[in-house]
């Protein structure tokens, strides 16, 4: 299947947003990536992004785990989202260190709203071959104590998704 054809369906956005809310993520939709970046720098000034090369290097595999553990809020960009379950695909090209999406206290995730597929069937047609890749659907969670849902089991306590 042609990947570009899959990643255009605009009518999947409402379902995707609903799924994200269902799995415990917050969603904000803005027009254009620039307005998202402006929003983040105004509201989350402490947020660390890996868009520039030096910071990418700083947090790459040689970075100490102790330093990573002190991370508060980080910003990542997903490759595509899945409408049926709110999952967002990230792979080795999305972060300098595989531990980052898990060890940070809060993850802010950017996603191009043109890159949403219907279901996992379409999703696996878009998955590229990489050393490591993950579908993330909402923040880390557990219900191991009396079936009470608690966010932030080991990984991030919250996930904020910006659609642009």
């Amino acid at each position: 299947m042609n990947r570009d054809n899959l990643l255009t369906a605009k009518d999947l956005i409402p379902e995707f947003i609903e799924s994200l809310a269902h799995v415990g993520a917050e969603v904000i939709k803005l027009n254009g990536k620039d307005s998202v970046l402006a929003y983040i720098s105004e509201n989350y000034p402490e947020c660390i992004t890996f868009e520039n090369k030096e910071i990418w290097e700083e947090y790459s595999f040689s970075c100490s785990k102790e330093k990573l553990e002190k991370l508060g809020t980080i910003q990542l960009e997903g490759r595509f989202g899945v409408a049926e379950n709110g999952a967002i695909w990230l792979d080795d090209n999305c972060f300098p260190n595989r531990l980052l999406p898990f060890i940070a206290q809060k993850v802010i995730m950017l996603l191009d709203s043109g890159k949403i597929v219907k279901d996992m069937g379409e999703a696996y047609d878009c998955v590229n071959e990489c050393g490591y890749g993950v579908f993330i659907s909402g923040p880390s969670k557990t219900a191991d104590i009396e079936q009470s849902l608690v966010f932030g089991a080991h990984g991030p306590e919250s996930l904020l998704v910006f659609l642009y």
């Binding site: 996992m120 890749g133 993950v134 104590i145 009396e146």
Partner: protein, 458 residues
């Protein structure tokens, strides 16, 4: 030996807890139903999942060697273990070769099956289960009571008490949010200092050599990405041919297990991290024997979602520990006898054969039929008590002779009416311990039918 019914009796003594257990699991079952109904082609997905697994099991040698070849090309070290002992030794060697003292582990029923924790601990290593539910039962030195919800048998107050003792939380604190937060702090320390991380495997993809692990907590990833060495442990039956097959299973697994549309994390490990080491251990441990059996091979299709437990009226009212096997419930009852037929003779009988397990199974294992087939096998092997064997023989004799059956019915109707209660409900009548017989009818159904047939077009 104290079997399932004896231990279920103990579980049921605490009526309010048994009631809570029953209702909680039924709630999970209802969530599952809701999630399943939200997918239009649900039944089609089950059919496809089942046929993919059949395909894999029929060509396992091919897919195993394809998987191994791809994994090696990816820079992964692949090991094969024929039994639990060999598996434990392989893992132990990897750990000691890397001079690790602390091992963190995410959920893996395979390592439970092989007794890996005990093996490593006896050799001086510290093993920490990092799934919250598993950590709780590890602190209590208990086996899991459910494969997806390992600590479902415990109340929050008990966990509060346990954490007070082990993690120094304030006495009497039993709020799940605060308890989870205490565990988070405790386990983050372990993640950062572990030399080796071990995970189970949900699916292994033959065409790419990658393994897929599904968690909600993110504990598999915390362990794997923080430790220099990662080990993924899988049974030979975990393979799927292609990446796109994962679409079928990831759509089914979490919905069927807990009613979630997908787990929070679905991680695909293909190559080791920079400067890291990645191992995959493929374990047989009796699986190829089951594969050879035409009758029992379908149990190898299981993807460990736990739905058959949540729906089972016997599991919900007897608790996971009453089964005496690491995988409880209907699926455990058909797996256990293939490992140890003598020890687990009673498990195929821990069922009402209501078929609910087969109806919710995402890969369409004929669980109820398997239970029945085990009963047949066990009775042929003389596994029944002499009393039960004799009773069944007498019943078989009577039921095969029409006149004798009619006569026995008459005798029973009279006897039940006139015999004193303490004789009818004597100790031998196990059925009558907790139940009352219905009122005795005046005549048999056969007689009633012959009188009434012809009337009202009956």
């Amino acid at each position: 030996m104290k079997g399932h019914s004896y231990k279920a009796g103990i579980f049921l003594k605490d009526e309010s807890r048994a009631d809570w257990h029953d209702k909680t699991l039924w709630m999970v079952r209802q969530k599952r139903d809701k999630a399943a109904r939200s997918v239009a082609d649900w039944e089609d997905l089950r059919e496809r999942a089942s046929s993919i697994k059949e395909q894999v099991l029929s060509n396992l040698d091919f897919y195993l060697s394809e998987f191994e070849q791809r994994a090696v090309e990816n820079g992964v070290k692949v090991h094969r273990a024929s039994d639990a002992q060999e598996f434990n030794e392989i893992v132990y060697k990897i750990v000691t070769d890397n001079n690790a003292k602390l091992v963190v582990k995410s959920k893996s029923m395979l390592t439970e099956e092989c007794g890996l924790n005990t093996f490593l601990e006896q050799r001086g290593l510290e093993v920490v289960d990092t799934d919250l539910g598993e950590r709780i039962i590890q602190f209590r030195k208990e086996p899991p009571s459910h494969i997806v919800l390992p600590a479902i048998h415990l109340k929050k107050e008990e966990i509060g008490e346990l954490f007070h003792e082990k993690l120094n939380t304030p006495k009497g604190m039993s709020d799940p949010v605060l308890l989870t937060s205490a565990a988070r702090t405790h386990l983050r320390e372990k993640f950062l200092s572990a030399g080796v991380a071990i995970t189970g495997v949900n699916f292994a993809v033959a065409e790419t050599g990658s393994v897929v692990v599904c968690t909600n907590e993110g504990n598999a990833d915390m362990g794997v990405h923080a430790a220099p060495v990662q080990i993924h442990c899988m049974g030979i039956e975990k393979l799927v041919p292609q990446t796109r097959d994962l679409a079928v299973f990831t759509r089914l697994l979490a919905r069927n297990a807990t009613g979630q549309p997908i787990t929070a994390y679905t991680s695909h490990y293909r190559k080791p991290k920079p400067r890291g080491e990645m191992h995959i251990v493929i374990v047989d441990n009796g699986r190829s024997d089951r594969l050879k059996s035409d009758i029992h091979r379908s149990s190898l299709k299981c993807i460990r979602c736990g739905a058959c437990m949540n729906t089972c009226p016997v599991y919900r009212r007897s608790g996971g520990h009453s089964y005496g096997y690491l995988i409880p419930g209907p699926i455990g009852s058909i797996l256990a006898p293939s490992y140890n037929i003598k020890k687990h003779t009673d498990l195929p009988f821990a069922s009402s054969l209501c078929m609910s397990c087969s109806n919710v199974c995402p890969v369409k294992i004929d669980i109820h039929d398997q239970l029945y087939k085990w009963r047949q096998e066990l009775s042929e092997k003389g596994a029944f008590s002499p009393v039960k064997g004799l009773v069944l023989k007498i019943a078989g004799f009577i039921l095969s002779k029409s006149a004798l059956y009619d006569f026995s019915g008459k005798v029973a109707r009279v006897a039940l009416k006139w015999l004193p209660r303490r004789m009818v409900y004597s100790k031998i009548n196990v059925w009558g311990w907790e139940r009352e017989l219905p009122a005795v009818p005046q005549e048999s159904f056969k007689k009633w039918y012959s009188k009434n047939s012809g009337k009202n077009n009956l």
